[in-house]
Amino acid sequence: MDHIEKRLSEIMSEVFQVPIEKIDSESSQDNISNWDSLSHFDLIITIEEAWGITIPVEEIGSMTSMKIISLILKELTAS
């Protein structure tokens, strides 16, 4: 896990109430049961707060796994 994924694991663990050791690079909406459409927005708000960014609306819906989120975050924070 890189730095971004580590930070994301902490956030996901808090938002979805899952022990941090259960979260890895393969975590996604499919294997975290508390990750539903409502908690998804808590996740987005928390990520925006943590990185101080605004995520474009078309990306929000696709951020359904650790891999995709970290990819999008890298793009958004690169510029």
């Binding site: 956030i11 808090e14 938002v15 109430q17 459409s37 409502l38 998804h40 927005f41 808590d42 987005i44 708000i45 928390t46 707060e49 943590a50 995520i55 474009p56 609306v57 929000i60 819906g61």
Partner: protein
């Protein structure tokens, strides 16, 4: 709360503070036609921070009316009809509505409002947000269709609301932050969640004082320092002619504004006090005769002008006013004094006069908005006057040798009434706000009080108190439950304003004598300890009640009316 990050709020909400586990659960329901999950998280956090053991319940999306049929077992309900949600379902852009389509929309919502008002009548507190077109379409010069619809719906709400419904001007929260900071169209498109965290925080803090008022958690007094707080300059150095509070200078204008606010607060029943390191006669001189002073002795209920430290003075203020330190706000310009008070009495909310003086009035007003609540009830409005009368009583006290002799000189008169429906609002308010002389601390809504009236197994006794200095109004309440030959005291409370005059004995005597004459056998009572009701811990034993021996942690008492003899209180007149 403004500074707390949303992530921390989510985290905090996941665990219940162990101290709250023992306090009664307060059920809060949120009904809306937009998604309100973030609002719910923020409100939960806010209430728990104020030691209210809240449990949130979010209604089904866009099912406001339907949910009011089911959600009757709730303590607080918040209803938010969002205009965006209302018009989103239409095929026509709102400004393209003709009078017929507008009328149809208006009438269908009015019908919904009527059903809701009826369904929520037993819920103690309902906050209904007023409609606002601000998110849809508004124009500076032309009045928009959206605006016309909202105006008409709001008028309908004002005309038809019941006493338990508080109408909240949601739009003001949006105005404070600006529209751009208030809404997030991304979230609306994806999840029908329209507002930002920032907006909900603003809203929660704005409705907070109204909610807390109903739990008796509200600040009651503001204590001001004098130099550079009530007026500009230092009295001891600049002299009575050198201090500033007049329209003729920039600094003076700010203090004039502050004094206007203080007078307004006193008129609203907020207790105003002074706590200042000065020569008392100098300060008296300013208050009594400085031509520019707006705040006078008729507004100030308490003064501690001396050279003692301010923490000691504030504790003595709390004691004399008979209010807990968590009901007090203290304003001072000195960081030293503010820190001293903060560290020695953390319950007291402090405000330091800002360095940027122009912000002083608005900062004070913000503090007032978030921590005080103006019920508009006459019992609150007259509070300053009643406390000033209390001071006269205290002054009189020193002239008499014994307490009873002094009490007799007051010519106290009480009037006890049974099931008096005209005072139902005051009764409910007393149960919500009385903490010290309150044996069971049970909180009741107006509807619940009305239910006691309607139920033959309950009696509601109320007491009004007056003496030669003035009328304190309805200040005592006793609710009893009748089962066969046994009476149970469900609630017995008395406002702290009339404590210390043995009035409680006269009140309970009256009630017990009544039941004795009706040949009831036993009166059962209970003392439920709270953090504030120590003053009544010994009340029942004093009245001759016997504690039931088999219990350990509870205080259950019983009185045998066949052998009971009243505790004589000769100097209180029982009136009709």
């Amino acid at each position: 709360m403004e500074e707390v990050r949303y992530s921390e709020i989510i985290k905090a909400n996941q665990k219940v503070n162990p101290n709250l586990k023992h306090s009664a659960l307060v059920k809060v329901s949120i009904l809306s036609n937009i998604t309100c999950n973030q609002f719910s998280s923020l409100l939960l956090y806010y209430l728990r921070e104020k030691n209210i053991n809240a449990k949130m319940n979010i209604g089904d999306y866009d099912n406001i009316v339907q949910n009011t049929y089911d959600y009757t077992d709730t303590n607080i309900m918040i209803i938010h009809y969002d205009f965006m949600g209302l018009i989103g379902k239409e095929n026509i852009f709102i400004e393209d509505f003709n009078s017929e389509t507008s009328e149809m929309l208006i009438n269908s919502i009015k019908a919904e409002i009527d059903i809701i008002v009826k369904n929520v009548k037993d819920i103690p507190i309902v906050i209904f947000n007023l409609f606002t077109p601000i998110v849809a379409f508004s124009h500076l010069i032309k009045s928009s269709v959206a605006e016309k619809i909202c105006v008409e719906l709001n008028e309908h709400l004002y005309r038809n609301r019941a006493r338990n419904i508080i109408l909240a001007n949601f739009e003001r929260a949006v105005q404070h932050l600006g529209l751009a900071n208030s809404i997030d169209m991304r979230m609306y498109q994806l999840s029908k969640s329209l507002y930002t965290i920032q907006l909900w925080k603003e809203y929660v803090q704005s409705i907070g004082s109204a909610l807390l008022y109903n739990f008796g958690i509200v600040r009651k007094a503001i204590i001001f320092d004098c130099d550079n707080t009530l007026w500009g300059g230092v009295l001891g150095e600049d002299g009575i002619d050198g201090i500033q509070m007049a329209d003729n200078s920039g600094i003076g204008r700010i203090y004039r504004e502050i004094q206007k606010i203080i007078v307004w607060l006193a008129n609203q029943g907020i207790l105003i006090g002074l706590c200042s390191k000065n020569n008392p006669e100098d300060v008296e001189n300013v208050i009594g005769s400085h031509p520019d002073m707006l705040v006078r002795n008729s507004h100030i209920v308490i003064k501690r002008v001396n050279w003692e430290d301010k923490a000691t003075n504030l504790l003595s203020i709390s004691k004399e006013l008979n209010i807990h330190t968590d009901s007090i706000v203290f304003v001072d310009d000195s960081p030293f004094e503010i820190n001293l008070v903060r560290e020695s009495i953390p319950d007291i909310l402090t405000m330091q006069v800002p360095k940027a003086m122009e912000a002083y009035p608005s900062q004070l007003l913000n503090l007032v908005k978030e921590n005080f609540y103006f019920s508009g009830e006459s019992s609150d409005l007259n509070k300053t006057k009643q406390y000033l009368e209390q001071n006269q009583r205290k002054h009189e006290e020193t002239k008499h040798a014994s307490l009873d002799e002094y009490l007799a000189s007051l010519q106290i008169k009480i009037v006890v009434e049974k099931n008096s429906p005209r005072d139902v609002a005051r009764f409910s308010q007393l149960t919500q706000k009385t903490n010290q002389f309150n044996v069971t601390t049970r909180r009741y809504s107006e509807t619940q009080i009305n239910n006691f009236f309607a139920n033959e197994s309950f009696d509601v006794y109320s007491m009004s108190v007056s003496d030669k200095f003035g009328d304190s109004g309805v200040t005592g309440l006793c609710i009893t439950k009748i089962a066969g030959k046994v009476i149970e005291i469900d609630t017995l409370l008395m406002s702290c304003r009339v404590m210390g005059r043995k009035i409680e004995y006269a009140f309970i005597n009256y009630i017990l004598k009544h039941y004795q004459s009706q040949r009831f056998a036993t009166v059962n009572a209970k003392y439920i300890p709270s953090s504030k009701n120590m003053p009544v811990k010994i009340f029942f034993p004093e009245m001759g009640f016997i504690r039931k021996a088999n219990e350990n942690d509870t205080y259950d008492y019983s009185l045998d009316l066949d052998v009971w003899d009243e505790k004589q209180i000769d100097f209180i007149e029982i009136g009709k």
